[in-house]
Amino acid sequence: LLGACDKSQPPAPAATADASTSTNSAAVADKKEGTVRASGSSALQPLVNAAKEKYETENKGASVEVSAGGSKKGLADVASGAVHIGNSDIFAPDDLKSGLVDHKVATVGFAAMANKGPYSEKIASLSVQDLAKIFSGAVKNWKEVGGESQPIVVINRAAGSGTRTVFGNIVLGGDKFVESQTEDNSGALVAKLKQTKGAISYLALSFKDDELKTFSLKGDGGVVEPNAANITSGAYPIWSYEHMYTKGEAAGSTKAFLDYILSPAFQDNVLPNVKGFIAITQMKVSREKD
């Protein structure tokens, strides 16, 4: 009975904290008040949520609505004007690009993750070719990639997912996934992976979980672990920028929120504590497209 309560944090900021911040932000109060709506990437969602919680408690009257649904939904929503900010793991496609302004707020790595079980215990890493075979459906049993006999259950993200696009581009050279069970959302996928024997999928590292097996990448130069050091150096190739698109230049409360996310206060102090995300400034390599 108390379990649920214990896990939850007491309401962190007391009313006093609000009072102090609200005075110093009075000058821009008219900007910060109001609602900012964002939707899109579920990979980016943990970061935006962290920002939202901090931002809302620091700025009374400000409110940020974040809903998931996949990167392409975010792009479509922001382009249609349904939301102010479209979160995406991928660059906006050409047809939407013209009206949208990109704000790269972080980078994140992706990795194949699987249900934990005896069949995959011995497999610590998989090569890109192995992954390609698994996710295109060519390989159907764990024993074919070095594990024990157990049917492989591939779980995909839905077509609108940025994770799917990035992972597909880098591992399969395009969206060549076998058509299989599909989850809308990274969060739901994690739960599904945990409960399905033999299941494998791909997730942003922000969803890395001790109860899931996370595979390193086996290449010519040895095994590369998916961690911040390898991503910033470019050794681990499966990563992408996290974009927050606005329609035209951001203004008003939207701009205030984006400014907050891009501010050193957030990038240096908060972002590193959110699992899996890497500040843009840390990157030693860069990309112009996915």
């Binding site: 049917p151 591939v154 069970q181 599909t182």
Partner: protein
């Protein structure tokens, strides 16, 4: 009036006794309310027309872009690659709704016959109450329960049926059909009960008076007597199952292909609409095609219900 008391004299008469003519002043309040009432009727028509029109406008564009044949019979649905074959969606919808009718509607109907004809009145109201609450339970609650409790069992059953080598996770047509069956059973039960209660009691009495047992009365008089309404009840359940979205989405798996067996993941029209609508840019083919598919769904379920109603009306006139 001769016997009017003194009291009466103080009270002004309500009707000017000499007059029958309508007063020159129209009764505005009356006219306004009549107008409102008629407007409500009109509103229903306009709203329906608007819904159909909005769906059809985009839907027809989608059909034009893709071609009706390709849309209905193509076996690959991949909007991200601009391939729109709706057959897996239609197949999934039809099979899970049919399965639901089989798993849920038919037992519910039989249960309704039993409860309506063969149990005492007291028990009847308990059954009815229970089912009313069960029918009001949101479908997502059923979906969530199925996700937590049904899907793992389905995985187990699938392995038992198809061997250990099959790739399943329990999400698929079997789960969704059972879920939908459980979901529509209370509604079908209640509708059937209503249909049976509309069979005149006098017919039951007449049958009993001829020496029929309550069973014979139930199956020879009440069932045929309520036949068309029972039909409608089952069809209504079918249509509801075909149109259900979120609950199905939670258990059907979402693979956009014709499933290999009842336990491999597939999708339905409405599920796919919700999924794909999220990242389709309005006014593109990818978006329009979703409206086309909803037209298909509309024809599937509305058609079924309308036909059963028309048959019902036409039959009751005979």
């Amino acid at each position: 009036m001769a016997s009017k008391t003194a009291l009466a004299a103080e009270i002004p008469p309500f009707v000017p006794a000499e007059r029958l003519r309508a007063s020159a002043r129209p009764r505005w309040g009356e006219i306004a309310i009549r107008g409102f009432i008629a407007a409500c009727g009109l509103f229903v028509v306009v709203a329906t027309a608007a819904v159909i029109m909005f769906i059809a406008r985009a839907g027809v564009r989608g059909i034009r872009d893709v071609g009706l044949g390709a849309l209905l019979s193509g076996e690959i649905w991949k909007p991200e690659a601009n391939v729109f074959g709706g057959y897996p969606l239609i197949f999934g919808t039809a099979i899970s709704a049919l399965g639901a009718a089989l798993v849920g509607a038919i037992p519910a109907l039989l249960a309704a016959v039993w409860v309506s004809e063969l149990t005492p009145k007291g028990a009847r109201s308990i059954y009815r109450r229970t089912m009313e609450v069960a029918a009001a339970v949101p479908s997502v609650v059923y979906g969530w329960l199925a996700l937590v409790h049904l899907v793992p069992q389905a995985e187990w059953v699938a392995h038992a049926l198809h061997g250990e080598d099959v790739q399943v996770s329990g999400e698929g047509l079997a789960s969704s059909a059972v879920l939908l069956g459980i979901m529509i059973a209370p509604t079908v039960f209640l509708l059937s009960l209503d249909a049976l209660s509309r069979v005149p009691g006098t017919l039951r009495e007449a049958s009993a008076a001829l020496g029929a047992s309550s069973w014979q009365t139930a199956f020879r008089i009440c069932l045929p007597g309520a036949g068309r309404s029972l039909f409608t009840a089952v069809f209504f359940g079918f249509a509801r199952a075909a149109g259900e979205t979120m609950a199905v989405q939670m258990v059907i798996g979402g693979a956009r292909r014709v499933p290999a067996n009842l336990f491999s993941p597939t999708t339905t029209i409405s599920t796919q609409i919700v999924m794909d609508m999220q990242n389709a840019t309005p006014n593109t083919t990818a978006s329009n095609v979703l409206f086309s598919m909803s037209l298909v769904l509309l024809v599937l379920s509305a058609g079924v219900v309308l036909i059963s109603r028309v048959v019902g009306r036409w039959g009751s006139k005979a």
